[in-house]
């Protein structure tokens, strides 16, 4: 928190060190109070959502999210110097089995950090920035598509067991390419050190706003898991192709877990959106191969934003072929209601 406060103080300083005479006030105001400096270029919202998971026998489990989404641009004189993104979410798990490591049990409250970082502009042309804090691992489709807080998701969970991590990245736009390379602790939600050398990750891709977007990514490092340090490597390719109202996405990953398990994972998605993008529908197929044993999962979902701040989503997941033989896999239906205000 020290860095944002320091940046706030910086933007409250007089421009060029000028001391204005009363009653004259310069523009931008050189004598802005801390509060005024903080409110300048600030966005924030509360973000509340509830998610229920059901199968053919009925209710299985649920999650509640109560979060803050805060975005602030720090400006000094004639230029932007940094952007703060701060998203702490108080999360309630009910009957959450299997229980992700971030929770202490199937019924638990936990503070989940979605994103919490400062991105400092090292070059004004956007070619080099330094991000410090908690961020999504720069890898695959997730890097350019915002799925935080939504039911639609990509392969971070399956590949790495985590989506975001603590550390630092260099990132920016160079020509028609964008890049981000990171070192992170491998600890996920919590800032802890159970050993391990951390994780190197990165993605180089074409600009995300194009009709065709391609990227190559890698991860190489040691992740801190409840079972101990797990070395993981991945090399990934991702693609997004937009034609008309349709989007065609693909991601391919290959690598190792524990230096022994060969993992290959492929994801394909076809999606559709309406003209003002208040409705999005998607179908995904995720195929995984682990040491020649294969698994196949299909997902289909819809998100609808019917009114100011409201978002309704549903997703149906069917395991077509289980990766490990652990009994039956009935389809599950997830419903989510989200409100940002």
């Amino acid at each position: 928190m020290i860095l944002p406060l320091a940046l706030c103080a910086l933007s409250a300083l007089p421009v060029g060190g000028e001391v204005p005479e009363e009653p004259v006030v310069a523009l931008p105001p050189p004598r802005a109070s801390w509060l005024e400096a903080w409110e300048q270029n600030l966005r924030w919202k509360f973000d509340v959502s509830g998610r229920g998971v059901f199968d053919e026998s009925g209710y299985l489990k649920s999650l509640g999210f109560f979060g803050l989404d805060l975005h602030k641009v720090f400006t000094s004189g004639t230029r932007d110097v940094a952007t703060l993104l701060f998203q702490p979410y108080l999360t309630r798990a009910n009957d959450l089995v299997p229980t992700p490591p971030v929770f202490d049990g199937p019924d638990d409250w936990e503070l989940i950090w979605r994103i919490a970082n400062v991105n400092l502009k090292l070059r004004q042309d956007g070619a080099l920035n330094l991000r410090v804090g908690h961020f999504e691992l720069p890898y695959g489709l997730e890097q350019t598509l915002n799925t935080n807080g939504t039911l639609r998701d990509y392969t971070h969970g399956g590949n790495f067991g985590l989506k975001a991590d603590w550390g630092a990245t260099v990132n920016g736009d160079v020509g028609d390419l964008e890049y981000e390379f990171a070192w992170s602790r491998g600890s996920g939600n919590e800032y802890r050190d159970d050993g391990g050398r951390g994780v190197l990750s990165g993605r180089l891709g074409t600009q995300r706003e194009g009709a065709e977007v391609f990227g190559v990514s890698f991860v190489d490092g040691e992740f801190q898991t409840p079972g101990g340090i797990v070395p993981r490597t991945r090399l990934g390719l991702d693609a997004q192709v937009y034609r008309g109202a349709m989007g065609y996405f693909a991601e391919f990953s290959a690598g190792e877990d524990n230096d022994t398990d060969d993992i290959v994972r492929a994801l394909g998605e076809v999606n559709w959106r309406n003209t003002d993008e208040t409705v999005l529908a998607w179908v995904q197929v995720v195929a995984t191969d682990k040491n020649r044993s294969s698994g196949l999962t299909s997902l289909m979902g819809v998100r609808w934003e019917p009114a100011l701040g409201w978002s309704l989503s549903t997703q149906y997941v069917q395991v077509l072929e289980p990766l490990e033989d652990d009994g039956g896999h009935p389809g599950t239906l997830t419903l989510q209601l989200r409100y940002r205000f």
């Binding site: 000028e18 924030w44 230029r79 932007d80 998203q87 004004q124 915002n146 937009y242 008309g244 934003e305």
Partner: protein, 341 residues
């Protein structure tokens, strides 16, 4: 608990603008800013709320309006070369046939189009809107000229105004609606910033060595009001004091070079925005309007004031000269001009 609920409801009431998308999806249009303003060395963000008032103002000027998804906190970018503001960049999205179309508009301080760049457009007709012919028509166009490119109801292109193939007419309509909403929303939500930027640009143009501006506030204090009452009477001269701002223009050493005034003048049914540069002796250096002059006669009358310095109520020949006299008297009340009356 009730107190917490009350605080949340209060915060919700204060935070009226809403978006369904999380702020981690926000990205600066780095590349577009430097393409639109190749001489820029940096840029600064100004975040303001495009709220219901802005929506009302946009709706009053156009036969279509901002969609609820377009309300909320938005950023106006000011490209800078050193400490000189070069113009404005405003990115807005518009529902197109194949999803949202995002265009970065480069504007001058009078809100005329300097150039434009698609930030995101997945329509196959995009190239048709980037031809030399279309770019030539849009460059330099102000709100009225752009409005004339649409039919009265805004649902069709006006015949012969924009040279596009029939297949590209839908996208052309989307782009024109987008730029009109961009200009109207910029005027509605960033007017104070716009006034200051206009003042800065005029000062740099007319006062060599101009380095910074200091806004005079409060402007119409008791001393100023007393002087105006004694000079121009209770009724005033049509100068809209609520919308009047004055800046001192300073050189690098803080020495005053002159003043810039932005204001509105109302006579009968005519309302005119004015910007006026005045030297230290009270001589009018320039007097112009960011809009079009309503008649040649008004333009001539104001043009005749350049180089003049009306000295007293009795010597003023007409309403234009009286308005200028009030502005100079306002400066005198703050000791910003020294005249030998």
């Amino acid at each position: 608990m009730r107190r917490i609920v009350s605080l949340i409801l209060l915060a919700a009431a204060l935070c009226s603008a809403v978006h369904a998308q999380a702020f981690c999806a926000l990205r600066d249009p780095n590349r577009q800013i430097y393409r639109l303003f190749p001489k820029a060395t940096s840029y600064r963000s100004i975040v303001r709320t495009v709220g219901k008032d802005a929506r009302r103002e946009v709706g009053a000027r156009l036969p279509f309006n901002l969609h609820f998804n377009e309300l909320g906190r938005h950023t106006l970018y000011v490209p800078m070369r050193g400490d000189e503001a070069l113009g404005l960049v405003h990115v807005r999205s518009e529902a197109g046939r194949w999803g949202l179309v995002e265009v970065a508009w480069g504007l001058d301080f009078d809100l005329r189009v300097i150039n434009y760049e698609f930030q995101r457009c997945r329509d196959r007709q995009r190239d048709a809107l980037e031809t030399e012919g279309v770019r030539r028509r849009l460059t330099g166009a102000d709100f009225d000229a752009l409005r004339a490119m649409l039919s009265e109801d805004g649902d069709e292109l006006a015949p012969g105004r924009l040279p596009v193939e029939p297949a590209a007419k839908d996208l052309a309509l989307t782009v024109l609606r987008n730029v009109l909403k961009t200009i109207a929303a910029t005027e509605a939500a960033w007017m104070d910033d716009l006034m200051a930027l206009r003042a800065d640009a005029l000062a740099r143009e007319l006062m060599p060595g101009a380095k910074s501006l200091k806004r005079v506030t409060p402007l119409h204090d008791q001393k100023c009001l007393d002087l105006l009452r004694s000079r121009v009477g209770e009724q005033g001269t049509g100068i809209q004091r609520d919308s009047t701002s004055v800046w001192q223009v300073l050189d690098r050493d803080g020495k005053r070079l002159g003043s810039v005034i932005t204001t509105s003048w109302q006579l009968d049914e005519l309302t005119l925005d004015l910007i006026c540069a005045v030297d230290r002796e009270g001589k009018i250096l320039e007097l112009r309007t960011p809009d079009s002059w309503p008649t040649e006669e008004v333009e001539r009358l104001y043009g005749e004031q350049v180089g003049e310095s009306p000295a007293s109520y009795e010597t003023c020949a007409g309403p234009v000269e009286l308005a200028v006299f009030e502005l100079l008297s306002t400066l005198e009340s703050h000791a910003l001009v020294k005249r030998n009356n």
